[in-house]
Amino acid sequence: MDLAPVLSGFAVVFEPQNLLYCLIGVTLGMLVGVLPGLGPAATIAILLPITYGIEPAAAVILLAGIFYGAQYGGTITSVLLRLPGEASSVVTAIDGYQMARQGKAGSALGIAAIGSFIGGTASIILLTLVAPFVANFALEFGPAEYSVLALIGIFLVATLGNGTLIKSVAAGGVGLILATVGLDPIVGTARFTFGSDQLADGIDFVIVAMGLFGVGEILYNLEHRLRPQPAVLSFGRAIPTRLEWLRSRLAILRGSVVGFVLGVLPGGGATMSSLVAYAVEKRSAKDPSRFGKGAIEGVAGPESANNAAATSSFIPLLTLGIPANATMAVLFGALLLQGIPPGPQLIVDHPDVFWGVVNSMYVGNILLLLLSIPLIGVFVRLLRVRAAILAPLTVLITMIGVYSIRNNVFDMFLVVALGLVGYGMKKLGFEPGPFVLAFVLGELLESSFRRSMRLFGGDLTGFVERPVSAVLVAVFVLTVVIVPVLRAVRGRQAARAEREVVGV
């Protein structure tokens, strides 16, 4: 393996401004992880217009930091409030909150931070080794392969998300329809523009992401803003004892591996991996009855896993150009905005961006470890910030940000309309994630499908006659069979986890 580009990636990271963006990114990530209401996908979407003017590597370093930083932050509310900030921290709440009740919140938070650091770092090392091979392999892909790959991506995200399968597919379908608004990519006919010039260029991805994730979430939270929150449990310093460290060592190791492997799979990798890691710990423990009563392995395993998964979910995006989850879909959009199409050619054409971003995660994880152990009290104090003040400020940044994309008021109306769509979807049980992801991949899917059809002379069997695309078709068929099984398993575990979280 050629090490030169990897090393020159470190040169990119250590440019002072990139270090600064990395710090801003992970700090913001911790913040949104701690603060209820706004997830990492929404935060990244809202900040997209602001990153327009920044250099590509710096912009992606910043946005990626928000994503993995949020994994650290989500733990804090899980342990102290039994309110998981992110879906991937749900299982941490089981034993983490019990530890907090026993006055060991500091140990729980400390071991979570250390586990996250080890899981994240191990995952970056594996990513560094694996990604170039995947990208190299994917360079051979033609339109047929890309059609099938995009289909797999959308299907997996739709099915591994949190909503019911059929509703997620419906949401994805509507996203694909919305993606066709504007000029036809091949012959240039105006489609679904209703005679409006404003829609002729299609709908900007940023507006869709900001509308569905940003405005949609804010509106949704407005309806139920009055829920009182539980009190924050007190804790001392976020440092585990020696005995606790010895107990959780292997849990961290196992969690990291589980996280890395499941994180590569598109769709909810982080959530899924934390559930699996918890199950693994409970099964391998000598005394499983300790779980649910404050077992430190029940914090260490899942927290290492969700961070490892968050990192490895970058692999499909950076090597294949297929986002593995909703946040990756927004990052996909961010790269496109910078004029860098994510895909197998990224590592060759823009090694500075690729290795800069990957290596920045080492620095980001160190920064997060530093932020979470000594400075954790500062973030806990942020739980005091009132949603009533935060929501109007967020909505203001969103509205002005949308305007700044094209200096166009029409886009502001569009983002409000999409916000209402996002709100309605959540109320009726549709996930916005598959919608946004399908919207991102829509054009790729349509144009590669149409090119393949021309190539194959209208014969659909062409997809199985090319060897690589045939393998991918097989993978697709296999996932269609396997995923419902995985869902059933996960559903059972999630239900059990929820029962344990609720019924103390």
Binding site: K167, A170, F192, L222, Q229, P392, V409, G429, G458
Partner: protein, 177 residues
């Protein structure tokens, strides 16, 4: 609702010292009835039908030479089918949420954002921004008048500094610096 009821963790929760008090979030969101479940199926069915109708006019072409309408048609059929599937399972569905009285706030909030966009170009961004923040802070958030005044004025000034001065976005504005 009074200010005391809307107290946030900051006011009651104590980071260090005081004995921990546990409370579960009250007021679980009521789930939607059969009407909501049916609505969740009707929307995709209608969207599918409308798209199919529009796509047909665009020209389907053939599989060998797909026209602009072919792809939207394929997706529209898929959406239509999922809608039918959702309708068939509507009886068992438990995944919708009822629209509570709070939904009125959501509609007003969305309308205020649309009005904001409308006024934005007419009178510059400063006055609509202050008004929007006052509405959200005072009437949606039940903040005190003092907090409302301070936050809305400071945030407007900060938005000016960030977007106009620092990022150079040509926002329509009254005050020139």
């Amino acid at each position: 609702m009074t200010a005391e009821e809307s107290a946030t963790p900051g006011e009651r929760a104590v980071v260090d010292g005081t004995p921990p008090v546990t409370e579960l979030p009250e007021g679980e969101i009521p789930s939607g009835g059969p009407g909501h479940a049916v609505l969740a199926g009707v929307v995709p069915v209608l969207l599918g039908l409308v798209t199919m109708w529009l796509a047909r006019d665009l020209g389907l072409g053939t599989l060998t030479d797909p026209g602009p309408g072919l792809w939207p048609m394929i997706v529209a059929v898929l959406v239509l089918l999922t809608g039918v599937g959702i309708l068939l399972r509507a009886r068992q569905a438990r995944d919708t949420e009822a629209f509570t009285r709070g939904a009125v706030v959501v509609v007003i909030a969305a309308a205020s954002l649309a009005l904001y966009a409308f006024l934005f170009e007419l009178v510059g961004f400063e006055i609509p921004t202050v008004l929007l923040l006052v509405l959200w802070l005072k009437f949606f958030g039940n903040e005190s008048w003092r907090t409302t005044a301070v936050v809305s004025v400071v945030a407007t000034a900060a938005a000016y500094a960030l977007f106009i001065t620092a990022l150079g976005v040509p926002l329509p504005h009254l005050i020139a610096i």
